[in-house]
């Protein structure tokens, strides 16, 4: 039963080892010349005035909320799609009814201007 996951485990080990080896070799080979001012965050030649750890436009958070709604809905389509031909017209109608609130939500969001940037 779990035998088919051996490959996943093997590629996880291979990927982590290769990526860590690259970083490790880089740490060993690279030079180290440090002086004050060198490690300041890049800001087009000026000193950083405002910290990046502050509040940002609410747009990005709106997209995150929209994502949660639609991604949960999208995941319902997967098992339904995989047995669609057995369900026939009954499954088709059920999913169509299920999609109507989703469509209303999208239209409402659109009308309210939640998709404008």
């Amino acid at each position: 039963m779990l035998a088919e996951y051996t490959g996943v485990l093997v590629i996880l080990v291979v990927g982590v080892v290769v990526a860590c080896a690259m970083l490790g070799i880089h740490l060993l080979l690279g030079p180290r010349r440090q002086f004050s001012g060198k490690h300041e965050p890049f800001e087009c030649g000026e000193s950083q005035i405002v910290s990046p750890r502050r509040r940002y436009a609410v747009k990005f958070y709106m997209v995150a909320i929209l994502f949660v709604v639609f991604d949960v809905e999208a995941i319902f389509f997967y098992p339904w799609g995989a047995i669609f031909q057995d369900l026939g017209w009954f499954g088709f109608t059920t999913m169509f009814i299920f999609t109507i609130p989703l469509a209303i939500g999208l239209i409402y969001e659109w009308m309210k201007g939640g998709l404008e940037w």
């Binding site: 740490l27 060198k38 995150a64």
Partner: protein
């Protein structure tokens, strides 16, 4: 520990990641040079031997390895170190479920050429894609830099938006093939269907020549719109031009990997190129028949060859033919992506987001129901 999956994983890893990924950096330079009417990479040489510039990938790796490892002041050192790994490792891991050959029978043993044949294969790739998004977001946040922060925010909003669309565009493919297992999907495409078969089923016209008009039963034939939308969504998910808003050199310098140097940057760079190969391999498996040769199914090839030579030899040759067919399709899809990347300028951010939410999302939901109605009608 069974030896068979280890060999298969190491094979696909060495061909796809270690073999193809460095060559793609060369393809990108050469193709951009051809498209812009210049010579392109040809300077790296060993005693005057340049091999068409193929030494450039090696020179790149050496250069990146020899750079100083820098962490900006005030950065979160642990997260700054971890985020390239979070970006690169899932991109590598996704290759475990890509089938690079079919199921072959040698006497009493069967050989299934896929690293890990798990029954939720496609969902596994999406899971890894979502984890890879964290790499970019964490990189932007941990660098303590305003440009990086903007790039990370743009990356997060763009990637989660296109993840929804990417998931919905291929529901049509599940409905046609009735599975989420990638090796079963490729197997289902190893055949051809009668284009005018519906005349037979619905109108009772069984003319003999209907049998001769056949198309390979590939996903792109069943889902042409799904193919276009899926390709758009995955290219946006990979953040390559024309969707490279999170990097946007002219607006936010380099976005989330601005404060990265040497091999830490190299891992982001590498994961982007591995994802190009992954997109090519995934579209090949879902829409272009995977390893299948058009109009020649596995039995046709094996029976054709085994009448001249033995069955064992014929099966071996068939494996080779299928693998070459898979590789050619993958290289074709890489070429298509490079063509788009060097043809189109970068979009604006509002254009990218409205393309996702206002065009692709409604179209993909419509595609699901049109596919369903047509499928049920054709089945009768």
């Amino acid at each position: 520990m069974p030896i068979e999956p280890i060999i298969k994983i190491l094979f696909i890893f060495s061909v796809m990641v270690m073999g193809l990924a460095p060559i793609i950096t060369w393809i990108e330079r050469k193709q951009s040079a051809v498209m812009q009417d210049r010579i392109g990479a040809n300077r790296a040489d060993l005693n005057g031997i340049t091999i068409l510039g193929l030494l450039h990938p090696a020179a790149d790796v050496i250069k990146l390895m020899m750079k100083e490892d820098m962490v900006p002041e005030g950065a979160n050192r642990v997260m700054h170190m971890l985020s390239p790994l979070i970006a690169a490792v899932p991109a590598i891991m996704a290759f475990a479920v890509i089938p690079f050959g079919g199921v072959y029978v040698f006497g009493d043993t069967t050989l299934n050429l896929v690293g890990a044949d798990i029954d939720w294969g496609l969902l596994y790739i999406f899971v890894l894609g979502s984890i890879a998004a964290y790499g970019n977001v964490v990189a932007g946040w941990s660098s303590n830099n305003n440009w990086s922060m903007l790039g990370g925010l743009r990356a997060s909003a763009q990637m989660i938006s296109y993840e929804v669309t990417m998931g919905l565009t291929i529901v049509g493919i599940f409905m046609v093939f009735q599975t989420l297992r990638l090796s079963d999907m490729a197997l289902a495409q190893d055949t051809s269907f009668r284009v005018l078969g519906f005349l037979d089923v619905h109108f009772g016209l069984n003319w003999a020549w209907i049998d001769w008009i056949r198309l390979p039963a590939w996903g792109i034939i069943y889902q042409p719109l799904g193919f276009l939308m899926f390709l758009t969504a995955v290219m946006a998910e990979n953040k390559r031009p024309p969707f490279d808003l999170p990097e946007g050199e002219s607006e936010i310098i380099a976005g989330y990997h601005l404060e990265y140097s040497g091999m830490r940057f190299g891992l982001f760079f590498m994961s982007e190129f591995i994802e190009i190969i992954l997109i090519a391999a995934l579209t090949t498996t879902l829409f272009l028949g995977g390893w299948a040769v058009p109009w020649l199914s596995t039995e046709t090839i094996i029976n054709g060859i085994s009448s001249v030579m033995g069955t064992g030899f014929a099966t071996g040759l068939c494996i080779l033919i299928h693998f070459v067919s898979f590789l050619l399709k993958v290289i074709f899809m890489i070429w298509v992506q490079m063509l788009i990347r060097w043809s189109l300028p970068r979009f604006r951010y509002d254009q990218v987001m409205s393309l996702c939410w206002k065009i692709l999302l409604p179209l993909s939901i419509a595609n699901i129901f049109v596919t369903g109605a047509v499928l049920l009608w054709v089945k009768g």
